[in-house]
Symmetry: C2
Subunit: 341 residues, 2 copies
């Protein structure tokens, strides 16, 4: 095999929290894993979108920041020596010889495996982009952004925020302290965010420290060569307003973009992969799916549900990876885990 061809038991697509925990669960059953992710780091959305956000519903953690959770899951997976292929998307999944699978990536990596486990969250997710002319050129310069990685970069800037959810409200509150100006555009005068946050937002607006531009929606961007001069907002009856701005932060949620997974021939239901809840197997034998991308009756999109699905899928994949071998199930309290090499 060439350098770029790898042989393993399970190829996991997605290195978010659920994919990482699947490495652990597979490892406990002696299955080796290789993991592909489009991002350059492990952690999925937790790492890329909200590393500093506290999560309250991980069992046994009254509160843990997303980045810390990823660190712990990474540590828990490590003794099983997973191989990560990061910064590359899966481009093709083909059935190979003897029922094995071949997973190919955008960097030319090929992974030969007995089972494929899709733990791809919302797919190669991306923000919902407002349909504005020439938005790409403003994205390229950072004048239009969908997330804030360094708050200090917005100090002294004129910021327009679009959206009515949690992120829009939280960033409006946070940036009111340091930005030159903050204007929040939303298509109605109600916000989907924690009541206390909304109350603070209205207080800051009353104090003149930010402006609520409601009910308005985004209608255009003014500027040239990626340098933003103003954002145009339009009221519901078509009256336009020009909002001078250096930066537009658009928080319209994440697009669920399955990307190439859509073309694998798996049974889908409203953009999710349908699985058998007893095994997490998809409509294709040998291909399993867990976490937010998987759907079955009663499915909850919670990280903790994905953890449980990882355990179920690992047990089911054991029969695919080691056909005919009985699974001698041991509790972790008995056997412990291997020590990292």
């Amino acid at each position: 095999m060439s350098d770029n061809v790898h042989r393993t038991d399970v190829c996991i697509v997605g290195a978010g929290p659920v994919g990482l925990f699947a490495v652990f669960e597979c490892g406990m059953l002696r299955m080796r894993c290789q993991v592909v992710d489009a991002l350059d780091v492990v952690g999925g959305q937790c790492a890329a979108l909200y590393p500093e956000k506290p999560i309250y519903d991980i069992p046994g953690y009254p509160r843990i920041d997303a980045a810390a959770l990823i660190d712990r899951l990474d540590e828990q997976a490590r003794p099983f020596e997973p191989v990560y292929h990061l910064g590359q998307q899966v481009t093709a999944v083909r059935q190979g010889d003897h029922g094995r699978w071949s997973v190919e990536t955008s960097k030319g990596t090929r992974i030969d495996c007995a089972a494929v486990l899709v733990a791809a969250g919302c797919g190669a997710f991306g923000p919902n982009r407002p349909p504005l002319d020439d938005i790409e050129s403003f994205e390229a310069t950072g004048a239009v952004r969908y997330l804030v990685t360094r708050r200090q970069e917005l100090r002294g800037r004129r910021v327009v925020i679009a959206g009515g959810g949690d992120s829009a409200v939280d960033w409006a509150l946070s940036l009111a302290d340091i930005a030159a100006s903050v204007q929040l555009i939303h298509r109605r005068d109600k916000f989907r965010a924690a009541p206390e946050s909304v109350a603070r937002l209205r207080q800051l607006a009353a104090d003149g420290r930010l402006e609520l531009v409601v009910p308005y929606q985004l209608s255009g961007l003014l500027g040239r060569e990626g340098h933003l001069e103003a954002v145009v907002a339009e009221s519901l009856d078509g009256v336009a307003r020009r909002l001078d701005a250096d930066v537009l932060l658009a928080f319209y949620g994440l697009a669920m973009d399955l990307g190439p997974i859509e073309k694998w021939g798996l049974a889908l239901e409203r953009n999710h992969v349908v699985v058998d809840p007893a095994t997490c197997e998809t409509s294709t034998r040998g291909v399993f799916a867990i976490g937010d991308i998987a759907h079955y009756p009663g499915k909850l999109k919670l990280i903790l549900s994905g953890f449980s699905e990882a355990a179920m899928a690992a047990h089911a994949m054991f029969g695919v990876v080691f056909p005919g071998e009985a699974l001698h199930f041991e509790y972790s309290t008995m056997a412990g885990v291997p020590v990292a090499g």
Copy 2:
């Protein structure tokens, strides 16, 4: 209502790890909980049987002792102010007015609730007791034991251990250092324990620091008024051996004793409560079951599976507790949790 009658949304039967996490999941959906447990403390088996044992398969905890896990789950549940009724068993569950339920306990507590959530693990679990004459009197004095709570109590004592699993082997290893003598009776010469532990066991036996009495089984106890003098073991062909002893530790696993739950009229399958995997509802509307006691296709008896079931059951119970009300689902990262009062 009298002092001993309580009204709540959900009555949880069982305060083990899964029951505790159910308090949290219900609380996140605004449902108040009261919790009944036969033990005097929260934590179930984790607290009563193996508090010092490390667990390796809790997601995000590469290793956590059972007691520490319970502490964290207790803390996570606390903001929702659960009411615990400990040291009492549920004796009856009756359907009351307007579809509500009445749960009664051995201490005369009555809990009036909209839904019942059974998270009772193996039921009011107990050890498998060997069928030996007069064993009760030896149990009463502590001459026959099924678990060791304080190792130092066995210093200088002549100890016979019966069983071939993890607990029997681990305690034989541990007590060889401090007991006057250790003899391990097992019906065959193979042990179901970690290979390294079995290897150490055989080495200690070779060194004369403990004796393996195999293949033998327990056949009697000698002594009077609860004071043990010797344990009688019998080989498979009926030859008896007298093993002088102060204490017998019998490790034959846990009996799955559903106790009164068996009489609630729930559909059972081999001593487990059958649930709909999409909701964790039992065959009786308004009664749900999660954790080790619950069964559905593909069920794994893992604590982490019980956590996920707690979330599913909470979402399903919402419709029972607040009929007709839409569940506005929020991620914990948005709303946070209430602060303990």
